[in-house]
Structures are given as structure tokens and as C-alpha cells.
């Protein structure tokens, strides 16, 4: 668990409604809903699961148990936790490669998620996709994707399909601050705006603005740094939210999802947040930002803020929090054990899932291979 007692104290109480982010961007002031002690505790448990899970994946990466790329969600927990709190059955969720949190929040089995990262046959996508490609279609998770921006058109198309089929579902479409400069974003957002005119595009765009695309700050990626306002070009309304404060995110998510569901029109929220971990588990160089900056953001760590509020309001004491931590840690330990003990995928899985029809696949296999 990364949130120290000191950091928590420094946040200076639970005042988390619409606070300015350190870079000075100002989200719209938000009425913090009165979440109630048990509800807040439940949210805390979810965020804690993400945090502890991610720390375990980082360890496993260092141990060589997880290969390829690994991108963790540490520092950003409040964003997906808050938005997915407004998830309703029938909704669809799509995001990029920083996708573990989204799976866990939608209720995917942590064992299967961890096993995927370990490349095991028991993984959520059978060990075929790895960290960047978590899917849990039954729970609405339509995938993690590795090409920056490439999933945005998919989400917009899904939103169309949901209305075409006459459902009430919406799409929660997560994208990074770096992705917004890609043409895929522009073309898809324009389609969303256009299709939304006839109520055929219930897409909620959620910009996870964690201030950097890999090592490139927002300021170094565009001359116009108000990312939410980039949706003006498509006739899509937007707002900002303090992405470190889960209560603010929840309030925003409620309104925004309701609005999108009702109108069938897209809407965009820029969540101001921060990735306190390196971009990827292998990217230890952080020449692009300072220790001070990281520490400054850590003072508004999303878990720290909730802990403080729980303690201040008396909803929980240190004992209760400690018990919760132990419980979550045990759950993650179990996931690690499960992954570690799971077998690799059987070799014949190499050739399945290329086409629906395995025969079609075989016809293209080399004669001798």
C-alpha cells in the first residue's frame, strides 16, 4: 500500500470538491454527494483492491513473471471507480492498455485477471492477450487495446449498435490525454457528434488526463491544452472533474451517464488525474518530470483522500481500515497464487480463435510447420 499516513495528513481534511489540480486547471465545482459511511468504505475497498493488485503486478513484472508491457493505474483509481459506479447492466466499457482497474471494477475475477498477466491458460483471455487486452464481455468489458486511439472508433460504433438494437445501454469510452491528438480520436468524435444528432450515439467520453502521454506532457503535445474543449469541434458538450476525488467523480458520473442514456447523444468529461507510477513497468527513466511534481500530486492521492474522509467522519477507524487492507491483500495474494500455480495455455490454443471456423484456419496453415 503506497499511501503513507503522512501523505494522508497533508491532504488537509476531506475537502475534495472540485479542488484545483496542481497544474492549475480548474474542474467545474461539484456538489459532493453524501455517500454515507458504508458506501464510502465500499468505494475505498474497490480502490484499494486496484492499488494492491497493481502493486502486486509490478512485483511480478520485476520477478519476470509478467512479460511484455505492463501499465498500472496507480494514482488514477478514483476515475474508473467513480465512473463505473454508474455502470448499468447492458452498458459497454472500452479503454486502452491501462485496463486492469476497469476489469476489476466490473467484477472480473481477480484470479483470471492476474493469470492473464502471467500468461496462463486460466487467464481472462486464455493467456493470449496479456495486460493490454483484458476482455470480459459478459460484464460489459469490450476490451483493452494497445494502439493509442485505436479503440475510440470502436466505442463510437458500439454506441450506435446499442441504439440500433433499441437498448438503453451506453458506452463508457476511456481515453488518455495523449490519445486525443491522434486522428482516430478526431474522426470518431466527429462521427459521435453527427450520429448523436439523431440520438444514435450514447457515448460517454472519459478523458483520463494524467498529464502525460508516456514522457510527453500535455503542454508539449498541443498548443491548446484544454482537452475537454477539443470536443467543441464536434458539437459535443463537456465538463471537467477532479479525478482524484472519487466523490466528485461519482457525482459527475451520475449526471453524465443519465444524460447520455436519456438523450442518446455523446458527452465528454475530462478527469484531471495523475499517474504516480511510471508509464509502464519497464519505464524507470522519468527524466520528463520531477520528484517534486510527483510528491505534490501524491498529497491528493485518491486513496488518501478517502481514508482521511472516512477517519474524519468517523465512518471507520484505523482498525477497520487495517482489517480492510488485510482482507484486500489476502484477495490479491490469492490471485497471485492462482496465477502462479496455473498452467501455461495448452499449445493447441495457438491455433484457435483466429477464425470462428477452425477449418478456415487450418487451410491457411503451412504444410510443414
Amino acid at each position: 500500500m503506497a499511501v503513507s499516513k503522512e501523505a494522508r495528513d497533508k491532504t488537509g481534511g476531506g475537502k475534495a470538491t472540485g479542488a484545483a489540480s496542481p497544474n492549475g486547471q480548474q474542474p467545474a465545482a461539484e456538489q459532493t454527494p453524501d455517500l454515507g459511511g458504508e458506501r464510502l468504505l465500499e468505494l475505498y475497498r474497490k480502490m484499494l483492491l486496484i492499488r494492491v493488485f497493481e502493486e502486486a503486478t509490478q512485483r511480478a513484472f520485476r520477478q519476470g513473471k509478467i512479460g511484455g508491457y505492463l501499465h498500472v493505474y496507480i494514482g488514477q483509481e478514483a476515475v474508473a471507480t467513480g465512473f463505473l459506479d454508474a455502470y448499468r447492466e447492458g452498458d459497454k466499457v472500452i479503454t486502452a492498455y491501462r485496463d486492469h482497474a476497469h476489469a476489476l471494477l466490473l467484477g472480473s475475477d481477480p484470479n483470471a485477471v492476474m493469470a492473464e498477466l502471467y500468461g496462463r491458460g486460466t487467464g481472462i483471455v486464455k493467456g493470449k492477450g496479456g495486460s493490454m487486452h483484458l476482455f470480459d464481455v459478459e460484464r460489459g468489458l469490450m476490451g483493452g487495446y494497445g494502439i493509442v486511439g485505436g479503440h475510440i472508433p470502436l466505442g463510437v460504433g458500439m454506441a450506435y449498435a446499442l441504439r440500433y438494437e433499441g437498448t438503453e445501454g451506453i458506452v463508457q469510452l476511456y481515453l488518455g490525454d495523449g490519445a486525443i491528438h491522434n486522428g482516430a480520436y478526431h474522426e470518431a468524435a466527429n462521427l459521435a457528434g453527427l450520429w448523436g444528432k439523431s440520438g444514435m450515439n450514447p457515448t460517454l467520453f472519459i478523458i483520463e488526463n494524467n498529464q502525460y502521454g508516456m514522457g510527453t506532457s500535455v503542454e508539449r503535445a498541443t498548443a491548446m491544452t484544454d482537452l475537454g474543449a477539443k470536443f467543441d469541434s464536434y458539437g459535443i458538450e463537456h465538463e471537467k472533474v477532479d479525478g482524484m476525488d472519487v466523490a466528485a467523480v461519482i457525482a459527475c458520473a451520475r449526471r453524465a451517464t443519465a444524460r447520455v442514456r436519456e438523450t442518446g447523444r455523446p458527452y465528454a468529461v475530462e478527469a484531471l488525474t495523475y499517474r504516480t507510477a511510471p508509464h509502464g513497468a519497464a519505464d524507470i527513466k522519468e527524466s520528463y518530470r520531477t520528484r517534486e511534481e510527483i510528491n505534490q500530486w501524491r498529497q491528493r492521492d485518491p486513496l488518501g483522500l478517502v481514508e482521511q474522509r472516512l477517519l474524519d467522519s468517523g465512518a471507520a477507524d484505523e482498525g477497520r481500515l487495517g482489517a480492510l487492507r488485510d482482507e484486500v491483500k489476502a484477495r490479491v495474494d490469492e490471485a497471485v497464487r492462482f496465477a502462479d500455480e496455473s498452467p501455461e495455455p495448452p499449445l493447441d490454443e495457438l491455433h484457435t480463435d483466429v477464425y470462428a471456423d477452425v477449418a478456415a484456419q487450418q487451410e491457411t496453415e503451412p504444410t510443414h510447420a
Binding site: 483471455v125 492477450g129 476482455f135 464481455v137 472508433p153 440500433y164 439523431s198 483466429v354 471456423d357 478456415a360
Partner: protein, 328 residues
């Protein structure tokens, strides 16, 4: 059997399948109000409405990606690429998403999409508007790639394509939209992965696909009349899956082969044909497989240069002579 143009056969397939299956929707530039730049979708907006015939902005990557998203939720989008020349802009969506989603989702997601449009050159559209991209898309597992040349096949294969649970790259012989051929009134489908023997013969096998098949038929006719050489003509039709059997069986009979492609030589379909034949009919070959390809230049505009850039009857006849050791 009634005769239909290639264009009308294609439209018939789309119309019938849209009538049969509500999940089929069309997307593309100017396919609706404008009626389709090649008139393939003419009348469909009126019949099926704007929710199913979706005019898009000029954003090939965006609308192809959106169509993939629709397919992931069970729709069966048919995307018109106004011409395949614009598909580089959608290649990331096609190759990175459509082709691989089933795999990297561990089988949780399928992408029943068809992407269709005219492929190939021959009408002086010059460098940026003249490509034959069968090898490009055919390289990637997860895609199916077909290239029908007759009205019969284009209708039957379009029905197969729309019903296929996986993404299909449907390369139409754009230069032949107006050509006629017999098309049954009853419903039928043409399977993927089966080449067609377009003309039987015993002396030499000529292999191609798309509009070059017509060139081969002309050459075969000339060889028969002028030299009493009986050429077998194979129309691959399906590029992926690739029908090795039909090719190999023919060459085992004729012992000689010429592979012809409008596209550029390197890493083209004809390279694969030659590689397969030498692999699987090595002991039957009386001469090396010859290839005839487009000239190794971006397509030129001037009529005479363009003509010189594509395979000609004479080039194919010369190649046939070489494999028959009738040179000079």
C-alpha cells in the same frame, strides 16, 4: 438464366441480405443521398432508411473502426471503401482490430464485417488511385480476402461474406462493374477458399484473379486458335484462404504454369503461387513457373504509359511460350 451486370449482381446481394437480416447495415462515403459513386448502393437508402444506409464523412479510419465496433456487438456492417486506394487510412483498424480481435479477446469477440469496394486500375487514375491490395490484406491471419471476377461469383461471394462470422476484405473488379454475366434468380452462395477452373486445358496452367482472369481467357483463346495449345485458366477468387489444391492439381496435369497479377511483382500473389507450385508439384514441373506482373512503377496517368504498366496479352503469351519452350 438472367444476365446481370457485375454492379447489379452486387447490389442484388446487398439488397437481398438486408431484406433477410436486419443486422446488416451499410456505411460509407456518399452511399446514401448521392447513391454511391459507383452506383452499387443506389436506391438502398430509400428502401432501408438512414439508420441502415449510413453516409459518412471522409474518415476511412473512423468509420471503418466504428463499423468494427458495431460488428463486435452483433451487427453485420458492410463498409464501402469508395476505392481501396483509401484503405491505407483504415489499415490500422482493419489489421490491428478487425483481424485480431477474436484472437486477443480469447474468442470472446467476433467481427462479422465486410469491407468492400473497387480494387485495381486501368482507368487512368494514376499513382494514388491505382492499387491492387490483395497481398497486403491477404498477409494477415484473421482476415479473409476475396476477389471475384464474374457477376455470378460476386453475388454468391457477397452473400457468403456477409454471413461469415469473420472480417472479409471484398475486392471488387472495379473496371468490370458494367460487364454482364449469368446470375440465377434463386439464392445461392459461393464458398471461400475454392479456386475456379475458368477454362480447362492440358498444356499449360494460367493463374490469376480479378480482372486479369479475362485477360487469361483471351490469351487461352488465342493460344487455342493460333497454336493449338490448350491452356487451363484458374481464377483464384479467394486469396485467403488460398486454394493450393486446385492449382497443384492443374499443374500436375499440365506441368507448366504462368502466374499473372496486375499488382507489383515483389511479395505478390504470383510469388506465392510460384512458391506453392514448386513446393508441391516439384517433380511435375517441366519448366520454372513464370510470373507476369505490373511494371515496378507507381501507376502513371498517360494512357500509353498506363497500358504499358499492366500485364498484356503479349506478355502472357511470351511467358506461356517460355514455359512451353517455344521461344522466339
Amino acid at each position: 438464366m438472367p444476365e446481370l451486370t457485375y454492379r447489379n449482381a452486387l447490389r442484388a446481394a446487398l439488397t437481398e441480405e438486408m431484406a433477410r437480416d436486419e443486422s446488416v447495415v451499410l456505411l460509407g462515403e456518399d452511399i446514401g443521398v448521392y447513391g454511391g459513386t459507383h452506383l452499387i448502393t443506389q436506391g438502398l437508402l430509400d428502401r432501408f432508411g438512414a439508420k441502415r444506409v449510413i453516409d459518412t464523412p471522409i474518415a476511412e479510419g473512423g468509420f471503418t473502426g466504428a463499423a468494427i465496433g458495431m460488428a463486435m456487438l452483433g451487427l453485420r456492417p458492410v463498409v464501402e471503401m469508395m476505392t481501396w486506394n483509401f484503405s491505407f487510412l483504415a489499415s490500422d483498424q482493419i489489421i490491428q482490430n478487425a483481424a485480431k480481435l477474436r484472437y486477443f479477446s480469447g474468442g470472446q469477440v467476433g467481427v462479422p464485417i465486410v469491407i468492400r469496394g473497387p480494387n485495381g486500375g486501368g482507368v487512368q487514375l494514376s499513382a494514388q488511385h491505382t492499387h491492387s491490395l490483395e497481398n497486403l490484406y491477404g498477409h494477415f491471419p484473421g482476415l479473409k480476402v476475396v476477389s471475384p471476377v464474374t457477376p455470378y461469383d460476386v453475388k454468391g461471394m457477397m452473400l457468403t461474406a456477409i454471413r461469415d462470422p469473420d472480417p472479409v476484405i471484398f475486392l471488387e473488379a472495379g473496371a468490370l462493374y458494367g460487364t454482364k454475366g449469368e446470375v440465377p434468380e434463386e439464392e445461392y452462395t459461393v464458398p471461400f477458399g475454392k479456386a475456379r477452373v475458368a477454362r480447362e486445358g492440358k498444356d499449360v496452367t494460367l493463374i490469376s484473379y480479378g480482372r486479369q482472369v479475362n485477360l487469361l481467357l483471351r490469351v487461352a483463346e488465342r493460344l487455342a486458335t493460333e497454336e493449338d495449345v490448350q491452356a487451363e485458366v484458374i481464377d483464384l477468387r479467394s486469396i485467403r484462404p488460398f486454394d493450393e489444391e486446385t492449382i497443384v492439381a492443374s499443374v500436375k496435369k499440365t506441368n507448366r504454369a504462368v502466374a499473372v497479377q496486375e499488382q507489383w511483382r515483389f511479395f505478390g500473389v504470383a510469388s506465392e503461387v510460384a512458391a506453392v507450385i514448386q513446393e508441391r508439384a516439384f517433380d511435375y514441373l517441366d519448366a520454372p513457373v513464370e510470373r507476369v506482373s505490373g511494371a515496378e512503377v507507381p501507376a502513371p496517368y498517360a494512357r500509353n504509359l498506363e497500358e504499358a504498366a499492366f500485364p498484356s496479352e503479349q506478355q502472357v503469351i511470351d511467358a506461356a511460350h517460355r514455359v512451353l519452350y517455344r521461344e522466339g
